[in-house]
C-alpha cells in the first residue's frame, strides 16, 4: 500500500493491457435470462444479458430502478441460481452450481450492501474478525492483526471496540467495507454503497474502495445511481428494461 506500488499499477494499466485482456475475465455472463415466478405469473427481469468484467476493473452498473441491476448483481454474487444462460464467476460456472458450490463462491466475494447490516451486538472489531471464521487457514493471531490493520486503514483505528449503534452512518459503512475486504476477496460486489450517506462520507467510501481495491488488484462491480461517483469507473454499464443498454468507457 505504498506509493511505488501504485506507480507500478499505472504502468500495468498502460503497458500490459493486452495481456490483461488475454486473461480469463473474472465475470463472464453470456445470454443470461432471468424471470421471477412460474407459468402465467412469470415476470422476466433480465433479457439476454452479456457482460464481462476483467481483473482489476471497476465497473459501475447504472440504470433506472426496475432495470434489473440488482437482480444481475445477486446472480453474480451466487445468491440466486442461474436458470437460463451461462454465467462464470471466478472461473466457476454458476449455471451448473449446487447450493454448496454457491456458498463456496460467496466466500471469495466481498459484499457491500446499501444497508451496512453489521451485527449490532458485536463491536466493529468482532464484526470484521468474524469473517475469518470462513477462512480457517488464517491463524487467530493473524486474523486479529489483519482486523486491526483493516479498520485502521478505513480510518477507524480509534473505534475498534465501538458497537455499531455508537458509530455514524459513514463509519458503519466503512466497517462494512473493512468486513468485505477482510478475507482478501477476489471480487467486490457493491449495491449502492453510498445511497445512505451524505456526499462527503459517500465520496470517502468510494475513494476508499477504489484505493483498497486497486491495491489488492481486485475488480469491483458496483450498482449505483449516484452521479457523484461515476468518475471512479473504468467502464459504466447502463441497463434498461432488463437489457444492457449501453457501455461507456
Amino acid at each position: 500500500m505504498s506509493i511505488p506500488h501504485i506507480t507500478t499499477q499505472t504502468n500495468l494499466a498502460t503497458d500490459f493491457v493486452p495481456s490483461l485482456l488475454a486473461e480469463r475475465p473474472v465475470i463472464s455472463a453470456r445470454h443470461v435470462n432471468f424471470a421471477f415466478g412460474e407459468g402465467d405469473l412469470q415476470k422476466q427481469i433480465l433479457f439476454d444479458v452479456n457482460l464481462e468484467v476483467g481483473s482489476g476493473e471497476i465497473v459501475l452498473l447504472t440504470g433506472p430502478s426496475g432495470s434489473g441491476k440488482t437482480t444481475l448483481l445477486t446472480l453474480i454474487g451466487a445468491l440466486r441460481k442461474v436458470r437460463d444462460g451461462e454465467l462464470d464467476v471466478l472461473s466457476r460456472p454458476l449455471h451448473h452450481a449446487t447450493l454448496e458450490d454457491l456458498v463456496n463462491v460467496r466466500r471469495e466475494i466481498g459484499f457491500i450492501f446499501q444497508q451496512h447490516n453489521l451485527l449490532p451486538f458485536m463491536t466493529a472489531r468482532q464484526n470484521v474478525q468474524l469473517m475469518f471464521h470462513l477462512h480457517p487457514e488464517v491463524s487467530t493471531h493473524e486474523a486479529a492483526k489483519r482486523t486491526v490493520d483493516l479498520l485502521t486503514s478505513v480510518g477507524l483505528g480509534e473505534r475498534l471496540d465501538y458497537y455499531p449503534a455508537r458509530l455514524s452512518g459513514g463509519q458503519k459503512q466503512r466497517v462494512a467495507i473493512a468486513r468485505a475486504l477482510a478475507a482478501s476477496p477476489r471480487l467486490i460486489l457493491a449495491d449502492e454503497p453510498t445511497a445512505a450517506l451524505d456526499s462527503q462520507s459517500g465520496r470517502d467510501v468510494v475513494n476508499l474502495l477504489q484505493e483498497l481495491a486497486r491495491n489488492q488488484k481486485c475488480p469491483i462491480l458496483m450498482v449505483t445511481h449516484d452521479p457523484r461517483i461515476l468518475d471512479v469507473a473504468d467502464r459504466i454499464v447502463n441497463m434498461e428494461d432488463g437489457r444492457v443498454h449501453s457501455v461507456e468507457g
Binding site: 456458498v103 460467496r106 446499501q114 451485527l119 451486538f121 468474524l130 449495491d191
Partner: protein, 384 residues
C-alpha cells in the same frame, strides 16, 4: 471457543435485561420441575415407608388385596404351619389399624395408625423398640412416634420432662411410655406401636385370629426364593408368601396405579417444562426475527445455514446453563422448607438432578429447533 458460540454469547448478552428475563424463565422452569418431581418422589417414598421398614426375610400377606394399608386379614393359624420348615427361625404376626388418638390438651380426636406386633422381635425397623419390650407387654401401654404431626399436642416435648403420658385411644385409656423416631407418611398423621395383645384391647371388635401381616425370619444362609417356594403350599390359597422386596415393589405399583401422585406432580413438572419452553422460544424467536437481515447478510457472505443454526442452538444451550444452576439451588432451598413444613422427607437425588438437567437442555434445544426454522427463511438475495 467455536465462533458460533461466541456469536451466540454476544447476541444473548448484548441486552442484559433480555438475558435476565430469559434466564429467569428457565430458572422457574427448572425449579418447578425439580420441586414437583421431588415431591412426587417424596410422596412415593413415604407411601411405601411402612413396607420399607420391614426387615423380615419373608412376609405373609392376604392374596385378596394389593396394599398393606387396606389389607385383608388372613387366618393366624396358617402362620403356625410355617414353623415346621427347618430354615424358619422366627415367626411373628402384625396387626394394623386406624384408631383415634385424643389430644390430651384440646380434647380433640385425630386419626392415628396403630401397629400391634411383638416388640421383642418386631422384624420392623423401629429404632429402639426392643428397649420397651417389657413395658409394652404390660396392659395398655403404647409407644408414640415422635415424628407424628402436631395435631396430637406436644406429646414428644412432654415426654422429655415426664416419665409417661396417659391418653385416650379408641375410648380407652392407655399410657404412652416414651417416643421413638419413625416417621409418618402420606397415609397417616401419626403412629402408635404396641404389643398384639394391647392392639386387640384397643380394637375389641377385631378377630384375634385374623392378622394383617406375617413376618418370618430365616436362617442367615437360607435361600430366600427356594424357601419361599417350599412354604407357599403350606399356606394354601388363603395367604401368600412374598419376599421383602416383592412387598415394596407391590406397594410402589399400588401407589402408582391408585394414587394420582404421578399425574398431579407429573403435570406440575410438565407445566414447568412448558413455561420454560415458551419463554426460551419467545426470546430466541424475537432475536432471530429482529436480526433476520443481519443473518441473511452473513449467508450472503458465505456463512452456511448450519453455522447460523448453531448460533441459535448455542444460545439455547447458554440459557439452559444459566437457568439450571440457580434453579437447582432454589429447588434445594424449597426441599428444605417443604421438609420442615410437611414433615416429609424431600431430598435431591443424582438421578433427578441429571434427569431435570437433560429435560432443561431438551426444553431449550426444542425451543431453538422451532425458532431455527425462521433462520432458513433468511434469503441472502433479499439483502440487496
Amino acid at each position: 471457543m467455536p465462533s458460533s458460540f461466541f456469536v451466540a454469547w454476544c447476541q444473548l448478552s448484548h441486552s442484559r435485561v433480555k438475558l435476565t428475563v430469559a434466564a429467569a424463565g428457565v430458572v422457574v422452569a427448572v425449579m418447578l420441575m425439580l420441586v414437583q418431581l421431588g415431591i412426587r418422589q417424596g410422596a412415593m417414598d413415604n407411601s411405601v415407608a411402612v413396607a420399607r421398614r420391614v426387615t423380615a426375610d419373608l412376609v405373609v400377606v392376604s392374596p385378596r388385596t394389593k396394599t398393606i394399608f387396606a389389607s385383608a386379614q388372613f387366618p393366624r393359624r396358617l402362620l403356625y404351619r410355617l414353623g415346621s420348615h427347618p430354615d424358619v427361625t422366627v415367626i411373628s404376626e402384625m396387626y394394623m389399624g386406624q384408631g383415634r388418638l385424643r389430644n390430651p390438651w384440646n380434647k380433640l380426636e385425630f386419626p392415628v395408625s396403630l401397629y400391634g406386633l411383638d416388640p421383642g422381635s418386631a422384624m420392623m425397623n423401629l429404632p429402639g423398640i426392643e428397649k420397651y419390650e417389657s413395658q409394652l407387654n404390660d396392659i395398655d401401654r403404647v409407644l408414640y412416634d415422635g415424628l407424628s404431626r402436631k395435631n396430637y399436642g406436644p406429646i414428644r416435648q412432654y415426654l422429655e420432662t415426664h416419665e409417661t403420658l396417659d391418653v385416650e385411644v379408641n375410648f380407652r385409656k392407655v399410657r404412652i411410655v416414651d417416643s421413638i423416631e419413625v416417621g409418618i407418611s402420606i397415609n397417616t398423621d401419626g403412629n402408635l406401636f404396641t404389643s398384639s395383645a394391647n392392639f386387640l384391647r384397643l380394637f375389641p371388635d377385631r378377630n384375634p385370629g385374623a392378622v394383617d401381616l406375617g413376618l418370618i425370619r430365616l436362617k442367615p444362609d437360607a435361600d430366600l426364593v427356594a424357601v419361599k417356594k417350599v412354604l407357599q403350599p403350606y399356606l394354601g390359597k388363603e395367604a401368600k408368601v412374598i419376599t421383602r422386596q416383592e412387598l415394596i415393589d407391590a406397594e410402589t405399583v399400588f401407589i402408582r396405579e391408585n394414587a394420582p401422585i404421578d399425574f398431579i406432580f407429573g403435570m406440575g413438572a410438565a407445566i414447568g417444562f412448558f413455561i420454560g419452553f415458551v419463554v426460551v422460544y419467545q426470546i430466541l424467536y424475537t432475536e432471530v426475527t429482529n436480526h433476520l437481515p443481519q443473518y441473511a447478510t452473513l449467508k450472503a457472505m458465505g456463512f452456511s445455514d448450519r453455522y447460523l443454526l448453531f448460533v441459535v442452538l448455542n444460545q439455547s444451550i447458554i440459557l439452559a446453563m444459566l437457568g439450571y444452576f440457580p434453579g437447582f439451588v432454589l429447588a434445594l432451598g424449597l426441599y428444605r422448607i417443604a421438609t420442615k413444613a410437611i414433615q416429609m422427607q424431600f431430598s435431591m437425588t443424582v438421578e433427578r438432578a441429571v434427569f431435570v438437567f437433560l429435560l432443561t437442555v431438551i426444553m431449550c434445544g426444542f425451543s431453538a429447533m422451532i425458532a431455527i426454522r425462521k433462520v432458513r427463511t433468511a434469503d441472502p438475495a433479499d439483502v440487496f
